[in-house]
Symmetry: C2
Subunit: 220 residues, 2 copies
């Protein structure tokens, strides 16, 4: 399941000039990685924040079996690090460069402590970090709202209603494939397809490709 940090940018509201100042204050210099290279492994105690300055990368979980899942897709401006990953065990999680990229690492403690050089931007940075974490938490909360319904039908409708209200419209586009949706709502894909078919037949929804339309009020 992909869990993007889409909500806000860590350095929004901070000029490029001040960004540079802060980086020298944080004593952080960019590092280069070529496509396919491992940027880092997650360790539970580590307290650094990574920032993708250029290029793309992925956060990957590798299972004992050797199979892998992409947990997150990172692009320019994305941040990563164990502090943003709230699971207890970070075993087998690593960040891999998807293209040639430059990455900065900042000590988490340094972000928390105020610095004298750029204090006014610093508080902006902290506010941004809060909104990123809060946003992640909101996404988790939303996911729970969907998962805590008992039936596939209810999970689907809960998900659709959230998307609809986010879009301020009864019509919206699914952000991922139907297979991924089944994964997100944690149900068997074929059973989900069956339920979608029923919902269509009963006139609750219309769905072609990834375009969904809610047709009538669903009373749970």
């Amino acid at each position: 399941m992909i869990n993007t940090v889409s909500c806000s940018h860590m350095f929004s509201g901070i000029s490029e000039e001040n960004y540079g100042k802060m980086m020298s204050c944080f004593k952080s210099s960019p590092k280069k990685y070529s496509a396919g290279e491992t940027i880092c492994f997650y360790e539970s105690k580590k307290r650094t924040v990574g920032i993708i300055e250029t290029g793309r990368a992925v956060v990957v979980k590798t299972f004992y079996s050797g199979s892998q899942t992409i947990l997150e897709q990172l692009s320019e401006g994305s941040i990563f690090g164990e502090v943003f990953y709230f699971h207890a065990n970070t075993d087998g999680i690593s960040v891999i460069a998807a293209s040639n990229c430059t990455v900065r690492f900042i000590d988490y403690g340094k972000i928390m402590k105020s610095c004298h050089n750029a204090c006014e931007h610093h508080s902006q940075l902290i506010e941004n970090l809060f909104s990123i974490i809060s946003c992640k938490a909101a996404e988790l909360s939303e996911h729970i709202d969907v998962l805590s319904h008992r039936t596939i039908r209810e999970k689907l409708m809960a998900y659709f209603q959230i998307q609809s209200s986010k879009n301020n419209s009864t019509q919206f586009k699914l952000p991922f494939s139907l297979s991924a949706l089944a994964d997100y709502i944690s149900v068997d894909r074929s059973a989900m397809m069956r339920e979608i078919k029923k919902l269509k037949e009963e006139g609750y929804i219309d769905i072609k490709q990834k375009e969904v339309t809610l047709l009538k009020e669903y009373i749970q």
Copy 2:
């Protein structure tokens, strides 16, 4: 479902003297409420943090039907506010005094901005806030881990395994009733009871009252 802010204290590491200094810096004075009184209603845009200095309170969701659920139990040192509640809609959520209590309100923005008087404690405060939010997010994440299993059996075992590893023991005490557990893992209580019985019979677990023991490795 009760969602306690148990992880860390907002003012841990800050002396009582400095706490007072900060409060005057925040221009926050304590307000008194008597048992049963409504302390506040949640509004999505509001950006204040509440702190229970003395007494107890509850965060309650009131449905259109008039029925209520306790979302959180607050005691001395607990904090509350819409910034710690990650759901989209805050409709019908209010904080009610469970006993006579004194409460402080702090503007969220003031916490973010650094102040000159007590800067060194301020960064401690911010770090504490981060750990509170991260901890909440971790709880949500844990909940998703449980809910994303397909069967009642798998959900139960996932939950038990988390509790076991938190306790560093195959034996642990459930933090809530079996009914509440059914609620937490979002399944029918009677079906859950049936599954617990089976798990007992098959020798996976032992459970009397709220004491659970994991007896053999469960291979999911």
